[in-house]
């Protein structure tokens, strides 16, 4: 049953095109940024700009996750109230909202993998071209790949942010009174 609600959440979130696209792209940028920062920390030994970049990305990431959880409940409070009226429990609605939040992050992660391939290809092509112009040879080992570890670590970090966002959303769902479904617009 929870899986069914998760599937329905995916369908519903994909139809919320504007909100979904904006947040999914923001997650993509943030996951890419955080992965890249972790890669730089590993290479540089964890000092300087790389660490600052990492912590800024984390701060923005957690803010964005909480904002997304808050927006979902806030914008859909009348729908949540209606679902409560027609017999959905708080747990059912939590499953749906968790689906909204998790799917957006997971898709952001999948997009990051795609972006990383393109990033490596574009940078590798430009560096190889520059090397050719300078008359030197380009070593493929110098290709600026973000390795798998930073991406996986970033995904785990963002997943834990989403769990916090889900907990926040769940608290807000509890506060939505079903009675507001019966209120008139503007009342």
């Amino acid at each position: 049953m929870a899986f069914r609600l998760f599937k329905k959440a995916v369908v519903m979130v994909l139809r919320e095109k504007k909100q979904f696209t904006v947040f999914c792209l923001m997650y993509t940028v943030l996951i890419f940024w955080t992965s890249f920062s972790i890669e730089l920390i590993i290479e540089s030994g964890g000092l300087g700009m790389a660490s600052a970049s990492f912590f800024i990305a984390l701060g923005v990431g957690i803010f964005l996750s909480l904002l997304y959880g808050w927006i979902i409940v806030r914008r859909n409070s009348k729908i949540i109230a209606t679902l409560k009226c027609i017999g959905w429990t708080n747990g059912d609605i939590n499953s749906l909202v968790s689906g909204f939040i998790l799917f957006t992050t997971i898709l952001g992660f999948i997009l990051v993998i795609e972006v990383l391939f393109h990033y490596a290809a574009i940078v590798g092509y430009l560096e190889a071209a520059a090397a050719a112009l300078n008359g030197s040879t380009y070593d493929i080992a110098e290709l600026p790949l973000v390795s798998l570890l930073p991406v996986v670590v970033t995904f785990i970090i963002f997943l834990s942010f989403q769990i916090i966002a889900i907990l926040l959303a769940n608290r807000k769902i509890l506060k939505v009174r079903p009675i507001i479904a019966l209120k008139r617009v503007g009342e």
Binding site: L5, T82, L83, G87, W88
Partner: protein, 223 residues
């Protein structure tokens, strides 16, 4: 079916205490079509909210199918509503990202029924309200009357014992109002579903077996 005993409910608004329900006693039998009527602010919507377990009375009891729901837990109330109550809202309250058939199906998603069974029931409910040809349309593509019929299909998809309608024709033109009220009457007859309609329109009284008149939180007449 539903028995309200000595119901009292007060609200605080801008420092003043408003008595929304004052010693309300009401018995609604199974299969009855009841219209609760009165001027704005007379407590009729509060009565509907309390009878459905959406709001709790300050005192009194509500016996719903032999069970006092005035002190039931939220999860128990959700279960009762899912199994026995259908809701029709004035503003339709359809989910904009779901098609008509999905809006009807949504009520049954958190149940153990199979997807196909849920879909079949939703299609049957849409057929009952003559909206099957619009099943794949989104709410924004439906007229007010069609939206309300979709809301009605959602209210009957689980074959409830009672349908509660809060100003169901409040946002409709006269023709759609007649369609919706005729459908409610038909559901009342064919499925023996108890119908409770809250409205301020006296023109709908002809549909009712019982009209409950309210004023200042109290029932002043039952006819």
């Amino acid at each position: 079916m539903i028995e309200a005993i000595d119901l009292n409910k007060e609200y605080r608004r801008a420092g003043a205490i408003i008595r929304a329900l004052a010693d309300v006693n009401l018995t609604i039998k199974s299969g009855e079509f009841v219209i609760v009527q009165g001027p704005t602010g007379c407590g009729k919507s509060t009565l509907l909210n309390v009878l459905s377990g959406l709001d709790l009375p300050d005192s009194g009891r509500i016996i719903f199918d032999g069970e006092n729901i005035a002190r039931a837990t939220e999860d128990r109330l959700s279960k009762i509503r899912r199994q026995k109550v259908g809701f029709v809202f004035q503003d339709f309250n359809l989910v904009p990202t779901l098609t008509a058939v999905e809006n009807v199906m949504a009520l049954l998603w958190p149940t153990v029924l199979r997807e196909k069974e849920i879909e079949n029931r939703a299609i049957a409910a849409l057929r009952d309200v003559h909206l099957l040809e619009r099943k794949d349309h989104y709410p924004v593509q439906l007229s007010g009357g069609e939206k309300q019929r979709c809301g009605l299909a959602r209210a009957i998809v689980h074959r409830p014992r009672v349908i509660l309608a809060d100003e169901p024709t409040g946002n409709l033109d006269p023709e759609s109002e007649k369609q919706v009220m005729d459908l409610l009457k038909q559901i009342n007859k064919d499925m023996e579903t108890t119908i409770i309609v809250v409205t301020h329109r006296a023109s709908l009284n002809s549909y009712a077996d019982k009209v409950v008149q309210m004023e200042k939180g109290a029932i002043i007449k039952i006819q």
